[in-house]
Structures are given as structure tokens and as C-alpha cells.
């Protein structure tokens, strides 16, 4: 391998500024105007941060994070978070190990697959990390910090373990993933408190995760149904998708919480969280179905024909040839859909659930903070939480796209 070593050509800062910011009278004027706007905005933010009293966040941090969850049962959330951190680390390690193995075989080094350098994780998850640091700075005891540090440690440990795990035993790691997920759920559910006490940002995260997990397979089935040659199956799929897409989510949530009871037998009284989760799943499945349908249409018919000619059964053609290519093509649209759902979970505040948005208005109505215009503190905090999650998702999706793009025609 011949390597060319050349000094990186980087124009000095002054030259860069001159070329990009001051290249003409109009450009210079724009630079000055926007520079002034940015400086003014930056100063406003600094003044806001310096002059504001964040006591309302400090006092209510637990409310924002876990809502009305019983404080003596908080350890359950910590344990569940640890289990999920470990799971996340294992997934990351498995993905990296697979990418490294493939790079060895094909000779193609996949950029962004194994990360660049030891601290690439920080660069990847910095929005979320920033949010964590802000939250921890608002805590009054050491416990949340310890929980977080241990969680990060478990994630790193899981990553390390999965990278070094012998390849021939890898299937046990894959088996461990759903077990960890179920264990996390079990720890939460075994309290006997039920979902009805879940709340805060934790509820938003749960509704997003569980909603996606449930809606995704359902959505794929609907998309396949919509392309079915059987008129009945196709009719049901089209009817379902078009009815659900014609209804606002808030209507479905209201119906789930207030109208569903009239249609259920009287001994069946699902909790509000269950009802909301069902409504979200039904709603999201219709949108995911349309995204997947777009991907299915992007797979050329020659792919199906080649698979048919080899004698593969229709189901195997769908599962092994069409769906993998279709889902890959839908990543950008799918992530947009996920982010949109993540933000839409705040609508549950409108049907009386105590999510993070509801927590903020509850905090604002507390006697100590009432009528002081403290929404200027709490709402930006809620916004920050969603921004950190959404932006991280969007960045990770871009990375995934880049990685899966390798080997494409």
C-alpha cells in the first residue's frame, strides 16, 4: 500500500473569514447583520441563564422525570435504566463487532461503523449527554449521579463485553437482549403499582419505545397487506390505513380514554396508560405502513423475479429479499416518523396523563411557584429534553444510513 503523506492544506482563519464572510459588499452586510443578531441572541440567553432562579426545576426534577411514581419505589426505575444501559452497550458492541468482521472479509472499511477513536461515543451522543449533565446539575443528592455513572459504566462494559465475546458464542448474546428488555419491564411492572402511576419524561420515553416496538411489525403487515393480490386483505389494509390517517391522534387518544369504556365489557377496565398506548400503536402503525409501502415500491421487480426463478417461496422472497432492501430505503422517512411520535407523546397530557409536559404545568401551579411566569423556565426545560432525544435520534439515523449504504449498487 502506497500512502501519500501530504501536509493537510488548511487555510488560516483570516483567509477563511475573508473568503466566506466578507467576499463582497452584500455578503459583508449580511455577515454584519446576522453577526449582530447572533450576538444579541447569545447575550439574551446568557442574561436569562444568569438572572433566572431554577429552584422550580431543582424542587420538581423528580416530577419532571418520573411524574407520580412512588418515591420509595424509585429504585425500580434505576434498575430498569441499568438493565437498558447494559442492553444498549451490548447492541452497540455487537453492531461494531459485526461491522469489523465484515470489514475484514470484504476489505471495505466502513466509515463510521466502528467509530473514530475512543471518544467517538461522546461526539455521537453529545445532545443527550448535555441534557443528562444539566439534569444532574439540578439534583440535590448524590444518588442520581451515582445511578447515572453506574448506568454509563454498564453501557461501556456491555460494549466491551460484546466486542470481545467469542464469535461462535454470539447467539447467546443475541438471546440476552430480549431477556434484559423483559427484565427491565419486569422490574417496573412487579411493583404492583401498574402503569397508571407512571409519569414524567419517563412516560414519554416509554410510550415512544413501546409504541414503536408494537406499531412496527403491525405497520409492516399493513404495508404488505396493502400490496396483497387478495382483494379482501388489500381492502382491509387500505381501509384501516386511510381511516386512521384521516383522524388526528388527539381524537384517538380522547376516544381511547373516554369512549372506549362503552365498547368494552364492564369487567375489563384497562388503565389510562394502556388505552393511550393502544391508541398510539394503532395510529403509528398506519403511518409506518405508508412509509414501508414507499420502500417496498422502491425495490425493483427484477429482485422478486430473480428470487422467484430460484424457487424461493413468496414468504421467503418478502422476508429475505424485498423487506431488507425496502426497510433500508425507508430509514430517513422512518426516523422522521419516530421523532414525530416522540414529540406527539406530549399529547397524552391532554387526556389527563402526567407526562413531562403535564408535569411542567403542574409545577407552575404549585403554591410556591404560582403566577410568577415560571413557564419561561419549565417549558424550555421540556423543550430541551425533547430536542436532546430527537437530535440524537436524527444523528444516529444518519450514521446508520451511511453504514448500511455500503455494498449498495
Amino acid at each position: 500500500m502506497a500512502t501519500l503523506t501530504a501536509a493537510p492544506v488548511r487555510p488560516p482563519l483570516v483567509a477563511w473569514v475573508r473568503r466566506h464572510l466578507l467576499s463582497g459588499p452584500l455578503n459583508t452586510l449580511l455577515t454584519l447583520v446576522f453577526g449582530a443578531v447572533f450576538v444579541a441572541a447569545g447575550m439574551a440567553v446568557v442574561r436569562f441563564l444568569a438572572n433566572s432562579d431554577f429552584t422550580i426545576l431543582r424542587v420538581n426534577l423528580a416530577l419532571f422525570m418520573v411524574g407520580g411514581f412512588r418515591r420509595d419505589e424509585l429504585w425500580r426505575i434505576a434498575v430498569a435504566a441499568w438493565l437498558l444501559s447494559l442492553m444498549g452497550g451490548l447492541v452497540g458492541g455487537l453492531v461494531a463487532a459485526a461491522a469489523a468482521a465484515r470489514a475484514r472479509q470484504t476489505g471495505v472499511v466502513v466509515t463510521g461503523a466502528t467509530g473514530r477513536g475512543r471518544w467517538s461515543v461522546l461526539r455521537r451522543f453529545w445532545p443527550f449527554g448535555l441534557f443528562l449533565v444539566i439534569c444532574l446539575s439540578l439534583t440535590e443528592t448524590i444518588q442520581p449521579t451515582l445511578v447515572t455513572v453506574l448506568g454509563i459504566g454498564l453501557a461501556v462494559g456491555g460494549y466491551w463485553l460484546a466486542r470481545r465475546w467469542p464469535a461462535s458464542w454470539r447467539r447467546f448474546l443475541y438471546l440476552a437482549l430480549p431477556i434484559l428488555g423483559l427484565a427491565a419491564y419486569g422490574v417496573m411492572a412487579s411493583s404492583g403499582l401498574g402503569w397508571s402511576r407512571w409519569g414524567g419524561f419517563h412516560l414519554n420515553l416509554f410510550l415512544t419505545g413501546a409504541g414503536l416496538l408494537l406499531a412496527f411489525p403491525f405497520g409492516i403487515l399493513l404495508a404488505l397487506g396493502r400490496r396483497s393480490s387478495l382483494p379482501v386483505v388489500k381492502g382491509i389494509a387500505v381501509g384501516y390505513i386511510e381511516v386512521i390517517r384521516g383522524v388526528p391522534l388527539i381524537t384517538l387518544l380522547l376516544m381511547g380514554v373516554f369512549a372506549l369504556g362503552f365498547f368494552l365489557p364492564s369487567n375489563l377496565r384497562p388503565s389510562d396508560v394502556t388505552r393511550v398506548l393502544v391508541a398510539i400503536t394503532l395510529f403509528e402503525a398506519a403511518y409506518i405502513a405508508e412509509v414501508v409501502r414507499g420502500g417496498l415500491q422502491a425495490v425493483p421487480s427484477g429482485q422478486t423475479e430473480a428470487a422467484q426463478a430460484l424457487g424461493l417461496s413468496p414468504w421467503k422472497i418478502t422476508r429475505l429479499i424485498v423487506l431488507p432492501q425496502a426497510l433500508r430505503a425507508t430509514i430517513p422517512a422512518m426516523v422522521g416518523q419516530f421523532i414525530s411520535l416522540f414529540k406527539d407523546t406530549t399529547l397524552v397530557a391532554a387526556v389527563g396523563l402526567g407526562d413531562v409536559l403535564a408535569a411542567s404545568s403542574f409545577a407552575n401551579s404549585q403554591p410556591a411557584f404560582n403566577a410568577q411566569g415560571l413557564a419561561r423556565i419549565t417549558l424550555p426545560f421540556v423543550a430541551l429534553a425533547f430536542w436532546a432525544g430527537s437530535y440524537t435520534m436524527s444523528r444516529e439515523a444518519k450514521r446508520l444510513e451511511r453504514r448500511l449504504g455500503v455494498g449498495e449498487r
Binding site: 472479509q105 470484504t106 476489505g107 471495505v108 425493483p300 427484477g302 429482485q303 423475479e305 430473480a306 428470487a307 422467484q308 426463478a309 430460484l310 424457487g311 424461493l312 417461496s313 421467503k316 429475505l320 429479499i321 431488507p324 432492501q325 433500508r328 455500503v406 455494498g407 449498495e408 449498487r409
Partner: protein, 256 residues
């Protein structure tokens, strides 16, 4: 056992591999195939030529049921193609097909492309399938590309992988649908060589192509089609030196 061996043997000797009887095929009101009757013997290589839109591709796509014929009979290795899905699958397992656009699976490595069908359709264990797959890649002379992805290969290499992918199912018949038409000129030769080797090894083949040199050198019979009908059939010598039909003469004068 003995009786089945006996019938197998007689079938092998007497019955042609592919029989088409009075096959019609319509796309809407357009008749793509009109009263096609032909048979292809075992180990025979038939080259189908004709102007574009003459129904050549439709003809071979009816043989593995990528197109459903509307009238007549299509019989492959004694199995008649009907709406019975099991019969269709049986025929497809024994019939390889190579497409103009290669149609490799871009999300699978070359080796996975080749081993997918043996593993999924023949239920072959992975290591056995990979051994077979590597042998097939060696046969089309690209064993070193096994772990690459189709997108990393040249057109000629991709088409040879497509041939290897079909061969891995150990088919009794190979159908080629203009296998070199999408290739750059310098890559046509390597694909034709692979096909020639296959013909020499005794594979039953139907090849739709515009490569007259290949037809002359490799074909046992040449079929000329126009407007959905078989116009003329003959040995290459007969066909290229003394064609009988005016339509054939016109076509040959245009391309040679």
C-alpha cells in the same frame, strides 16, 4: 425402486426436457405469443433470436412461469405448469434463469447471493452450501470475489455471479434472457465464455441473445421469432447460410 428407476431412464431417453404446445400469451389485447409449439431435447442448446418485441423474452419467461401462458401447454421435465403452486416451485427449482439486468441481491455478499437458494430452498447446511457456492464461483472464474458485494463488481463479473447463483441450485435447464445486452463490449466475452463452458458440459439451455457469433458456435438449433410467432427453426449452418423465410432473410441482412 426398480420400476421408478426404469421409468426415469425411459423418460430421460425419450422425453424432451421442455415441451411447448400451442402456447398463446396476451398482455391485455396485445398478443405476445401466438401458437408457439417447440420442444427442447436434453442437453440441447437452443438460441432464440429476433427483433425486439418479437416475444423472445416472454417465451422463456413462460418456461419458469414468470409469465403465465393463457392457452396451450408448457411442460418442463415432465411437469406441466398449471396454477398449482407446488408444480411451479418444482419447475423453478430445476430451472435456472439469468437476466439482462443481472438482478443480484445488492444487500447480500456475492457468496450469500449464491448460497441463498441452496440453503433456503434445498435446506442445505451452511458450510455445505458455501462449499458448493465457492465451487460455482470458481467455475465462472471469480472465486476471489466471494466476500464482496455486487455493487463492488463490474457488470461482467456480476453477470457471472448471476450464472453461478443459478448453477448453485444444480438446475437441469438454464434460461438466458439477453445476458450480455446490458454489458460494456469488453465484458461480453467473459460472460459468453462462461456460457460456452456450460453448454459444453451438457447443460440444457435456451438463450435469447443478439450475439450471432455465440449462436453460430454454440447452438444446436436456432429459433427465429417475429411478432410473437416462430418463423423459422434450423441448425446454425442452415440458418445463417441459407435461410428460407423472407422475414428471416430481412432480419439477417439488417444485423449482419
Amino acid at each position: 425402486m426398480i420400476s421408478s428407476d426404469f421409468t426415469d431412464a425411459t423418460r430421460t431417453k425419450n422425453e424432451p426436457m421442455i415441451v411447448l404446445e400451442h402456447v398463446d400469451k396476451f398482455f391485455g389485447s396485445f398478443q405476445a405469443l401466438q401458437d408457439i409449439t417447440m420442444s427442447v431435447g436434453r442437453q440441447e442448446v437452443v438460441v432464440v433470436i429476433g427483433p425486439s418485441g418479437s416475444g423472445k423474452s416472454t417465451l422463456i419467461r413462460c418456461i419458469n412461469r414468470l409469465e403465465k401462458h393463457d392457452r396451450g401447454r408448457v411442460v418442463v421435465d415432465g411437469i406441466e405448469l398449471t396454477d398449482d403452486l407446488r408444480k411451479i416451485q418444482e419447475v423453478r427449482r430445476e430451472t435456472g434463469m439469468v437476466f439482462q439486468q443481472f438482478n443480484l441481491f445488492p444487500h447480500l455478499s456475492v457468496l450469500d447471493n449464491v448460497t441463498l437458494a441452496p440453503r433456503q430452498v434445498r435446506r442445505m447446511p451452511r458450510d455445505q452450501a458455501e462449499e458448493l457456492g465457492k465451487a460455482m464461483l470458481a467455475r465462472v472464474r471469480i472465486p476471489e470475489q466471494a466476500h464482496k458485494y455486487p455493487g463492488q463488481l463490474s457488470g461482467g463479473q456480476q453477470q457471472r455471479v448471476a450464472i453461478a447463483r443459478s448453477l448453485a441450485m444444480q438446475p437441469k435447464v438454464m434460461l438466458f434472457d439477453e445476458p450480455t445486452s446490458a454489458l460494456d463490449p469488453e465484458m461480453i466475452k467473459e460472460v459468453l465464455e462462461a456460457m460456452e463452458e456450460l453448454a459444453t458440459s451438457g447443460m440444457t439451455m435456451i438463450v435469447v441473445t443478439h450475439e450471432m457469433g455465440f449462436a453460430r458456435a454454440v447452438a444446436d438449433r436456432v429459433v427465429f421469432m417475429a411478432e410473437g410467432q416462430i418463423v423459422e427453426v434450423g441448425s446454425p449452418e442452415h440458418f445463417f447460410s441459407s435461410p428460407q423465410e423472407p422475414r428471416t432473410k430481412l432480419f439477417l441482412s439488417q444485423i449482419l
